[in-house]
Symmetry: C2
Subunit: 307 residues, 2 copies
């Protein structure tokens, strides 16, 4: 019974969070007919391609937790969905560029043709660039004190940069395609390529809500472990699901000898490791007691999901 | 005699400004051997390819003018070269992506092989991305009050975005390649593609130095006109210089039917228009009296240069 309630609860969090994010993105992206229209249509094509908005939902639940811990009540800090939208823009920009012929050369993403397939390579490159820019246009207009906004820009930019950030992970991934993956290389790539943006989602959400240095440390610890668990589950799904369920070409990671957890450790050991990481991540949230329930429910969903 | 002194003066401003910018870029870019090294070498290849650092110099002279107007003395506000370096990173990222095979397909830039020629397309795309990111990592660490830093992020991100910003200009330029350029289309492309970054260089320099709303308005007016004059001169040089003097393929704009001033108005009328714009730009700086001399000298150089 308790389990069923938790499931209802997380479904509601996921649905409301995705809706709030979509509304914010709809407001923040220029209309598809605004000049120059080709790039605005391209930005919208990839932004509204059926993403689950997991990163914005992590932003919101982390912000809700800190807000609730400080003030009681369960509501979201006003305007936090715009921070979530900015992080989703950065995620989308990285997918558009990752899918380009010169990089992963993917023609499908979530079952839909990728940006360059529809709009051509030139516009896809610029649409990715523009989503990165729009993320900072958005961060510079957040409804939080200027000190917090500058800290958020710093955290987000660092997490998406070349030194242990998202772009660094993309480069390590590219470079590693032709050598045998090791436990160490898999870990370094995941930590940077996917982990850093997941981590900064929860940390920046906490800063937005007024979190102090201790909150930032706890959320960093939580985000680091939950982010790695998320990527391990992603890798497992790539092996165990077929392309239709996954909405992209399944088994591609294994075929291209990419560094993944199941390739190095096998599926069972990978599952055990992901579950262990989530337990460790939860321990970092102990000081928040019941206020952490929403964030924990989302993290549990991330590693128990089947698609 | 007065003329000669002015020339000595502007040469000194240009040289000192370029040196300060290079030192800041050297500090701010990760070393070429930092992991993952390929992207850091690519970022450095394009950043240190012999650029004249005109935008950072505009940042510094605008900041010096506002600082001097408020406090007297002629020195630069501390740390302003880091703002200049961030804007140079954004300029460099746009050049790397503009040169890609899917866009302008240029193999030479300032006489050197372009980023994708040396490092491949994948790394060139990511190096451009990373320079944009590093610009915001840099802006989030500026040595100015948080309120000013957030305003600078907003101004810079807006100026490089799709709506009347740099990326918007790139798209208009791409889309216009196959239709006959008109006075209106040339103006819109220039204002966005090059003008917006020149304009935000002087405006953000003023904000960094503590400029108020009136200063921002004057610098916006000055930057808009000086930026357009700069681009007109660039177009004229593309027609009148040969490739060796220019360090890139000369006459390419005309050959590809790109929207340029000389193509629409002829060289002589374009020169007259550029000179008129600079005079109008100077009028906006009248309230600063002698404090504006450095900024005016740089603007004069921009339209009188022969390469």
């Amino acid at each position: 019974m308790k389990r069923m309630q938790a499931e209802v609860h997380v479904k509601e969090i996921l649905q409301t969070g995705a809706e709030l994010t979509d509304l914010a993105l709809e407001r923040l992206l220029p209309p598809g007919d605004a000049t120059p229209s080709s790039i605005h249509r391209a930005m919208r094509h990839s932004t509204f391609a059926g993403g689950k908005r997991l990163r914005p939902i992590l932003v919101m639940e982390a912000a809700r937790m800190i807000h609730c811990h400080q003030n009681g009540g369960g509501e979201l800090p006003e305007g936090v969905e715009e921070l979530g939208a900015a992080i989703e823009m950065l995620h989308t920009y990285s997918l558009i560029h990752d899918d380009l012929p010169a990089l992963d050369n993917d023609e499908l993403r979530r079952g839909k043709p990728t940006c360059h397939v529809v709009f051509g390579e030139a516009i896809a490159i610029l649409a990715g660039d523009a989503l990165q820019t729009l993320a900072y246009q958005t961060l510079s207009r957040l409804r939080c004190p200027a000190m917090a906004a500058v800290e958020i820009v710093r955290l987000v930019a660092d997490a998406t940069g070349t030194v242990e950030g998202m772009i660094g992970g993309q480069v390590l991934d590219l470079e590693g395609e032709h050598s045998k993956p090791t436990a160490e290389s898999v870990d370094a790539i995941h930590r940077a390529k996917t982990g850093a943006l997941i981590r900064v989602s929860v940390v920046s959400g906490g800063v937005y809500a007024g979190g102090d240095r201790e909150d930032v440390q706890r959320l960093t610890e939580f985000g680091r472990k939950a982010g790695l668990a998320f990527q391990i589950v992603d890798d497992i799904l790539d092996v165990t699901q077929d392309s239709e369920q996954l909405g992209k070409t399944a088994g591609k990671d294994l075929a291209s000898d990419k560094a993944t957890w199941p390739a190095v450790f096998g599926i069972e050991e990978s599952r055990v490791h992901a579950a262990k990481l989530v337990d460790e991540a939860f321990a970092a949230l102990a000081p928040y007691g019941g206020a952490a329930e929403g964030l924990k429910a989302v993290a549990r969903y991330l590693v128990e999901r089947t698609h």
